[in-house]
Symmetry: C2
Subunit: 235 residues, 2 copies
């Protein structure tokens, strides 16, 4: 009995995500209009960075693909910075094929400007003008559609209304393994906040996480993601 | 002679901008598309904040109207935060009428979105879409057009080409007293940089300031602005 205690004490701790490699995207993307103007969104990157930090602490190998954010790289994380959705798409696909789990937490712009001006656009005498936008590639759908070396694919849905419904639709339409939905219309959670609440959906289940610090939420979410990943792998 | 030295030593120092009140706008504006997306620009607000800080040090009373930036308020500065060009316009006009000098350093969006969506816009099945933009009010031109309580009005021109030409045109067209022009196509100066170089134009003169820290440039620029302000006032 004493021997058992001694052995347990000196045994290397096996962390729950030991040997698991994750690719996480975080932050907004920024789509240029001209050399000074751009379209972006309110994503702060905090949730994705919290996931990257928690994943390393849980023993995972983490590559973090970050849009333009004002955040320090968590210790032990390999970070790749990008600006536009096109850049994030390219890096994400390159990295995804060597990962076990891909978490698309970035708020990728759905559209980019059709014709990016090389010089600053001058104000015209017209009272109105219009900007033609074209669709960006759908990163998470492209990862989920990989036919070989496809990672377990986790998406996020930031919605302002009818959250559960849109999230379930997105899960099916994009062939994701799991989707984390949050309501960004509530001012105390989601974008730019330190806190978040999420509901996670997968094909035959769901789980709610109440409002809490993004750092704590990140750890609980990763344990659930890992559990679902291991479950899928064994089937 | 000794008496003179003693008197000089104990005399209160008169700072060059003592008794002068300034209103300075700084940073970008952010024009919402829907609750999560927006149009903005690369202005960091550093030049405007450096001007506010230097003006207080030179003895002025300073009100700083700031767009969304990640900067601390300089000591002694009264700061008013705004987001959109419409908000900045309203606050700027309110403040301008009680100031001696107005410096429009903010990179105000020329256009805003015609119809801001109250819910997050969903991606449609169309490959392209368009965003209708309408002109924002021209803040600096409105201040310069005040017929009573008009402050000495200083504008900025951030250009990527033919800088001097556009700046001179803007000076005349907007009826400014002085305009500070910089070339934001050069990566080591202007937007988001710690350094800047400027050429200042007024009706019958111009002055160049070489590449230097924005903090140093701010002080030199304010002394020139004050000199031109006193010159105009005495005529």
């Amino acid at each position: 009995q004493l021997v058992d205690l001694v052995l347990e004490h000196f045994a290397p701790k096996v962390l729950p995500l030991e040997g698991v490699s994750l690719v996480i995207t975080a932050g907004p993307t920024r789509e240029p209009i001209d050399p000074v103007r751009y379209i972006s969104n309110h994503s702060s990157g905090k949730m994705g960075f919290a996931l990257a930090e928690a994943a390393v602490q849980l023993g995972a190998q983490v590559t973090l693909i970050a849009g333009p954010v004002q955040l320090a790289t968590p210790a032990g994380v390999k970070r790749i910075d990008v600006v536009t959705a096109d850049q994030m798409y390219q890096v994400a696909l390159e990295q995804a094929i060597s990962a076990h789990i891909f978490i698309g937490c970035a708020a990728v712009a759905d559209y980019k400007v059709a014709q990016v001006a090389t010089q600053k656009l001058k104000k015209t005498s017209d009272d109105s003008t219009s900007l033609t936008l074209v669709k960006n590639p759908d990163i998470i759908a492209a990862v989920a559609a990989l036919t070989s070396q496809r990672p377990f694919t986790v998406g996020f849905a930031a919605e302002t209304q009818d959250v559960a419904n849109y999230a379930r639709q997105k899960l099916v339409k994009k062939k994701l393994d799991l989707i984390c939905a949050n309501d960004v219309s509530l001012s105390n959670q989601g974008f730019n906040s330190e806190q978040n609440a999420l509901t996670v959906f997968w094909a035959d289940g769901e789980q709610q996480f109440g409002l809490q610090a993004k750092t704590e939420l990140a750890q609980q979410l990763l344990l659930l993601i890992n559990e679902r990943y291991l479950h899928e792998k064994s089937h």
